[in-house]
Symmetry: C2
């Protein structure tokens, strides 16, 4: 079945759950015209349906090939990429002075979800290009920006992000790729990078590589790494392409999923060294890397949302179509009818579909809210508003990345389950989402790293102030739910109130433990991130349900959003108490774990 | 890394958690000599390590091929199957009068876990043969038994189970394969079956197919189906093989996992009809099918345990080997050391490994306890003891199947996560477990069907008596944990007591709802199964930890089992309260779900 962008859900989430409407009304988003949002989302949806979705399964089957002339992508991919750049989709949020459309990151995020839903392997190329744009825009010299930034923004020349080496994954400071300074101020790079997404391909004339390397005499670890830019083909003074640079894909990986996205081993220096230029300062690579990484983390979170939504759409269509048996105790007594029921008539199938939809919607709003916070931090006039929004964006980023990709995996797995035996057959398409989603919890910082980041950096910011601020807003939502006296919410108010209290207690306990027994705090990092996310997600869905009733643009029965919020609160947010106990109780058992694991 | 059977854990689980020792001491297992258990487990472990494990990844890569001569399995597989049957492994639990060793199902189950851990695609062939043996032994005529039973038990002729048709999956009664009675008392079959595991292969001279079909004039639905036996090659009076029977693999599926196990479309009747014999009575196919299915469900549960254990072993080895960064706040201050830490030093990685190990151990004991109950129901002298054990086995079977396969998927996914980026590369081997595990929650009755079975059949047996009996035993374990005053248990006692109370309250609520509002009960079937399983699993691990301290055969620090039980109680069983609420609160939201799903 064909992908359709869930335009209504996206708009409700953006405008209300994520707070875009309020930010625009408060004047924090400059001259952004909110009336254009729906049109952009709809157009993106059409492009995804018409161009990207039809290539998703064929791309998975064809995969990519490493040839004498470099990496060859699946049939149709170079043409789709050309259509993509020509339609301007790569330039949605890029700065206008370099040809970008300057739209908010929130809008960029919504369309990012749409690309990921229709074709996550394709989405990776622009996702990494965006990281390259961010790094170059923030840290690059005017000379480098003049040559490369407009090309990156249009997408004519996509970017890569080259950090990982065999011994340097999460510990990026352990990298060994060597940089040597030349007399002309340029550098030569020597070394090998692994797991480089779209490290080489045939979708463009040139590729702009962003590479972390180490200069001789630099301090050890992450303080001694420098970010370099190296084009695949050198650029002449007139802008034409010159000689091939000494950076080649020497291998491609055989992966569980995202088969159409080439994951390359890149070799530098076999032919005299890769000609490269410093981005930012020597030994300033770590901060440039975080610039690249931060938005990539949000982008990966949106991949989780996208894959989840696609898996949901496919499962829903199957459940409406597939007939099997008679659903017992159905509202209408069908016992005398000969025809069988579609499996969506079974309560257990309904439960699976509601879980898929609820988790997807909750993760969507967490991601969009992160984007709105970053937008306000970049665009608001008042420096205090900007600073507060920056803190909010920093707090939400690890949840946007980790929770969304965790649920991306969970939802994709349920999607196969709804299909029964057919789900296990590759032709059905449901299994691909399980395979594709499996990398999302790993790349751009594993979800364990995100949980540590939430705990050790984000919670601690100003003694937890960012957390207390957010919890205050969530409490206000809970009060509104309770005050609504709407029976459609069921026990939502109570579930959310308990959850907000759990986050507060757990956060306080963790802040104390970080100071006195940091390993015990770290033991609870992952359940803490989940606790916070299911609380935030539950409150966000309730907030959207409240708003939907007063939003004339919502189509159909607005009450359905209360049902969704309720289902999520009663089945997912309800886990808050148990997650709180896991954080607080289980450090002791982990301290004694070596006796179990290495007995 | 190579698979090693976890002999100590298996013995502790069998003897104490699952109650094998007590059953033997009470004389319920006839003349079974419990001293032989360890030797059988160890020998099975050797065979798995030496023969099955080395074929697992190559078999996944090679897959199977459909040729003019039928299905060809991966290189080495026919030889491994020959070694398997010659070593007597297929005959472990078969009846002695037909050449079986007559060992308890509990022992059979433990070795089943071992086969699944080392090679789940291989394990499927004997698993389905066992189902065929059960059906033929229980329902077949003496004539059929004489010809086929010894061959099936030795494994010389493996069996198949042919139920599914395109329109008849979960709703097996919708099948259309047609049976026509012949003058000589035999039958001819005409039709197509899909998803037939090991429907054809080159690992044996003959295959014994067990096929559900419909006789003309039979009642509609499941009351009108009959079980037939049809050999691939006819058997002459002297036992030699005769003509090829008219049943052929006409297609094989391209699946997400278990690539080495052929999943066939079987075509009957293109050459005059498949010659077949009734097993049991005409139109008695449903009860024969349940005989086949019941032990297959336990077998699939053990596949979940096996895949989980294998994924755990691989992740543990990787976490001990892979060095990355320095673990902050480690017990020893390593800040001045240059060397990096193995990732197992990180609390979050430890958490993942403990979760993998705890869930595997809990599911193992639930499966073994199911087997012990079935053994007692078959072997005890006292009919009352037999009846009670049969009830227990029936109650546990859906949990053994569904919980173990759910955690099989969860553990396999965590295993990839522990490997980081390497986990996503197929060469590492961790990804295969994710792919293989994905079918386990689906075949032999989806886990949704298991949850319905637990609710609508098993809970209701004698007004819930089977449940109250079991809860009484679990309460006694909790009291022992509390009385032990062992600080290693942490908050285990309180967590388990809460959980047992949750199961009791939820069971009572469900019993009432089944009578008054059955669709609302059905809406909670899946969380109820999980609630019951995490409670049973938590109590089982605690029980094993208590027993380990007094069991001289336990190697090393027996206290490690208390740590494992504690970790499971504080991180998994602790979810009981939330699961109870999901069952009780969320039926309303599901009743309103159509407005959300089909808006």
């Amino acid at each position: 079945m064909t992908y359709r962008a869930p335009v209504d859900d996206i708009l409700l989430s953006l405008n209300h759950g994520a707070g875009l409407l309020a930010a625009v009304k408060a004047g924090h988003l400059g001259d952004y015209d909110i009336d254009m949002t729906a049109a952009v989302i709809e157009e993106a949806g059409k492009f995804a349906t018409d161009v990207l979705d039809p290539l998703n399964q064929p791309g998975d089957r064809a995969g990519v090939k490493l040839t004498d002339k470099g990496v060859v992508t699946a049939p149709g991919w170079p043409d789709a990429y050309k259509q993509w750049t020509e339609a301007g989709w790569n330039a949605v949020s890029g700065p206008e002075e370099y040809g970008g459309q300057g739209l908010p990151l929130a809008i960029h995020s919504a369309v990012n979800e749409i690309w990921s839903a229709s074709n996550v392997a394709f989405d990776l190329c622009p996702l990494l290009t965006q990281s390259a744009i961010d790094a170059l825009h923030a840290h690059g010299s005017d000379e480098l920006k003049t040559i490369y930034l407009a090309k990156l923004i249009s997408g004519e020349w996509p970017g890569t992000m080259q950090l990982t080496e065999p011994q340097a994954g999460t510990d990026v400071g352990a990298l060994r790729t060597r940089a040597e300074k030349q007399a002309d101020g340029s550098y030569r790079l020597f070394g090998t990078k692994i797991f480089i997404t779209y490290g080489d391909h045939d979708m463009s004339d040139n590729i702009v590589h962003f590479i972390l390397a180490r200069l001789p005499g630099s301090p050890p670890g992450s303080k001694g790494i420098t970010l370099f830019l190296a084009p695949k083909f050198m650029v002449n003074a007139d802008g034409s392409l010159g000689a091939r640079n000494d950076i080649y894909a020497s291998g491609i990986e055989h992966k569980l999923g995202i088969h159409a996205s080439p994951t390359c081993t890149m070799t530098m220096g076999d032919k005299g060294g890769t000609i490269a230029y410093v981005v930012g300062k020597e030994n300033g690579g770590m901060s440039a890397m975080f610039t690249m990484m931060n938005q990539a983390r949000l982008g990966v979170g949106l991949q989780g949302v996208g894959v989840a939504d696609r898996a949901y759409q496919r499962a829903l269509a199957y459940a409406q179509d597939r007939k099997q048996g008679k659903a017992q105790f159905n509202k209408e007594d069908r016992s005398k009818s000969d025809s069988s029921d579609p499996i969506i008539a079974y309560p257990d199938v309904k439960r699976n579909l509601m879980l898929m939809r609820g988790m997807t919607a909750a993760a969507r709003t967490i991601c969009y809210a992160t984007a709105v916070a970053i937008d306000v931090s970049n665009r608001a006039a008042d420096p205090k508003v900007r600073a507060k929004a920056a803190t909010r964006g920093a707090l939400l980023t690890p949840m946007a990345k980790a929770f969304s990709t965790d649920i991306g995996n969970e939802v994709a797995a349920i999607g196969v389950q709804v299909h029964g035996g057919m789900g296990f057959m590759e032709e059905t398409g449901a299994a691909q989402y399980v395979r594709d989603a499996r990398i999302l919890t790993i790349y751009e910082g594993t979800n364990g790293i995100q949980a540590n980041d939430l705990l050790m950096r984000k919670l601690q910011m100003s003694g937890g102030e960012a957390v207390w601020d957010l919890l205050g807003e969530l409490s206000a939502i809970v009060s509104k739910v309770e005050a609504s006296n709407d029976p459609a919410f069921g026990t939502t108010g109570a579930k959310l109130r308990d959850a907000v209290a759990s986050v507060e207690r757990t956060s306080k306990w963790l802040l104390e433990k970080i100071a006195t027994a940091p390993r015990e705090a770290l033991a609870g990092a992952t359940p803490y991130l989940r606790l916070f996310s299911v609380t935030l997600g539950g409150c966000s869905l309730a907030n959207e349900a409240l708003a939907a009733r007063n939003d004339e643009s919502v189509q159909g029965d607005a009450g359905r959003y209360a049902t969704l919020a309720r289902f999520f609160a009663e089945n997912v947010t309800v886990q808050s108490g148990a997650l709180e106990r896991s954080v607080i109780d289980s450090a002791d058992a982990l301290n004694a774990a070596d006796a179990v694991l290495v007995a």
